[in-house]
């Protein structure tokens, strides 16, 4: 999977990784630096962006758990022993607890993803064969909440006008049994909209009921779509009703076409 962020937004990539339960590393080039985001079964497990390098020592220093001098000294040690051993040592010596390490790594990963999410351009490539080295400490993070959060802050009014050209469209939930709605961290507006999604309610009707402007409702629907929770139901013309005779004729005709194509051999 390769492309450029100007054609495929960071949230769309993260959503695809989450929905497809992908494992591997996403590499992205940007003027601010290079991003490496690693995933296992659709969850983020490791991230580094630009200068914010992903070694344990640097992560703990940025989070204020250890000083910069300590981080420099420990980084040298980690080159020999690896992050996992370093982590054990720090815990044994009482500098940090295991929980401290997990919290710091999570914070670092979220910060890296938030930075990545602001990028509008840059080539990306997903390498399914590349994973963090065995000595790295990885902490799995669910992408759904991250995606909803990122999508929430991004202003995409122009794109949303294009994606949702009319508010006289119905919405439907996307079947994702592994996602527990109750555990998702949605905003009050997102929950309110979700509660109004029914086959008989258009987006315009939902907006009117909730006293939301066109822009507001588009932003909320846009976030929910990006997170893969809802989709637009387009209104299509109804199929014409054929008589029994007409159906038989059509069936026979299609049958003849199928027979003809099945008999075609490649030149």
């Amino acid at each position: 999977m390769k492309g450029n962020l100007r054609d495929f937004s960071p949230t769309q990539i993260l959503n695809l990784v989450s929905l497809a339960h992908k494992s591997g590393t996403l590499g992205v080039e940007h003027k601010e630096g290079r991003a490496m985001l690693s995933f296992k079964d659709g969850k983020l497990i490791f991230a580094s962006v630009g200068d914010a390098e992903g070694s344990l020592a640097s992560i703990l220093a940025r989070d204020g758990r250890i000083s910069k001098d300590q981080a420099s000294a420990l980084a040298k040690r980690a080159e020999q022993t690896g992050d996992k051993q370093l982590g054990l040592l720090l815990i044994q010596k009482g500098y940090v607890t295991q929980q401290d390490i997990v919290v710091s790594i999570k914070k670092h990963a979220l910060s890296a993803v938030n930075t990545f999410a602001t990028w509008k351009e840059g080539p990306f490539a997903f390498d399914t064969a590349r994973m963090p080295s065995a000595d790295r400490i990885t902490v799995p993070l669910d992408l759904e909440n991250i995606i909803v959060q990122i999508a929430r802050v991004q202003k995409r009014d122009e794109e949303l006008e294009d994606e949702i050209p009319s508010l006289d469209i119905f919405l439907k939930f996307i079947e994702r049994p592994q996602v527990k709605l109750k555990e998702l961290q949605l905003s009050k507006d997102e929950w309110r909209v979700l509660n109004y999604i029914k086959p008989e309610n258009t987006i315009r009707m939902i907006a009117k009921s909730l006293n939301m402007s066109d822009k507001q409702i588009r932003r909320v629907i846009g976030s929910l779509r990006e997170a893969g929770l809802v989709e637009l139901m387009q209104i299509h013309k109804q199929r014409e009703t054929l008589s029994v005779e007409e159906k038989d004729k059509k069936r026979a005709l299609v049958g003849r076409l199928i027979n003809h194509f099945q008999s075609i051999s490649a030149d």
């Binding site: 695809l16 989709e231 299509h236 059509k250 299609v254 003849r256 199928i258 194509f261 490649a266």
Partner: protein
């Protein structure tokens, strides 16, 4: 006996392989109304279809299938509704190696669905190029519903084009059977 004609439409974004698709299966040279490309932004090829492509497949003495390829550039979209009139079904061709065209492909698909409630398939073309996206990823990127057929395609190969059209025909029969149920 009077000759019966049926029509299928081949559509998709600019440079997705529509003309190639029709050309691979048509028994006649594809009749294309083409002009040299003037826009620098679209200079990925020398010519482009400005009205439609037209291909023919003679099934029998009394049955002919016409394939109509739509022009891919948006400024010719006024042709789409005309071409969609009376079609048996349609194929949406997507260039698997150009993700910048996926949004456009989805938009074209929705436009044709609105024109006519006929069966359709999506052909993931250029599956032979190294940068082609896998079908699973493409399905998610295009936000295709589970029931929509997404088929691998190499438009320059007759066998591949034949398989796409067969799947569309099977889909037409399946829809007729499910309507009866």
């Amino acid at each position: 006996m009077a000759t019966q004609t049926v029509k299928m439409v081949v559509t998709g974004p600019f440079n997705s392989g529509k003309t190639q698709f029709v050309g691979s299966i048509s028994e006649i040279d594809v009749v294309s109304t083409e002009r040299k490309i003037s826009s620098e932004a679209e200079k990925v090829k020398d010519q482009t279809t400005v009205a439609m492509d037209f291909g023919r497949i003679t099934v029998d003495d009394d049955l002919i299938l016409y394939l109509f390829g739509t022009p891919g550039q948006r400024r010719f979209d006024f042709m789409w509704e005309i071409l969609a009139e009376g079609m048996l079904g349609f194929v949406v061709i997507v260039d698997s190696s150009r993700p910048e065209t996926f949004r456009e492909a989805k938009s074209i698909l929705e436009t044709f669905r609105a024109y006519a409630p006929t069966p359709y398939v999506v052909a993931a073309n250029k599956q032979d190029v190294p940068d082609a996206w896998a079908l699973d990823d493409l399905r998610i990127a295009l936000r295709l519903e589970d029931g929509v057929k997404l088929l691998p395609c190499i438009a320059k190969e007759k066998e591949s084009v034949k398989n796409v059209l067969l799947e569309l025909l099977y889909g037409i029969l399946e829809e007729m059977d499910s309507d009866e149920k």
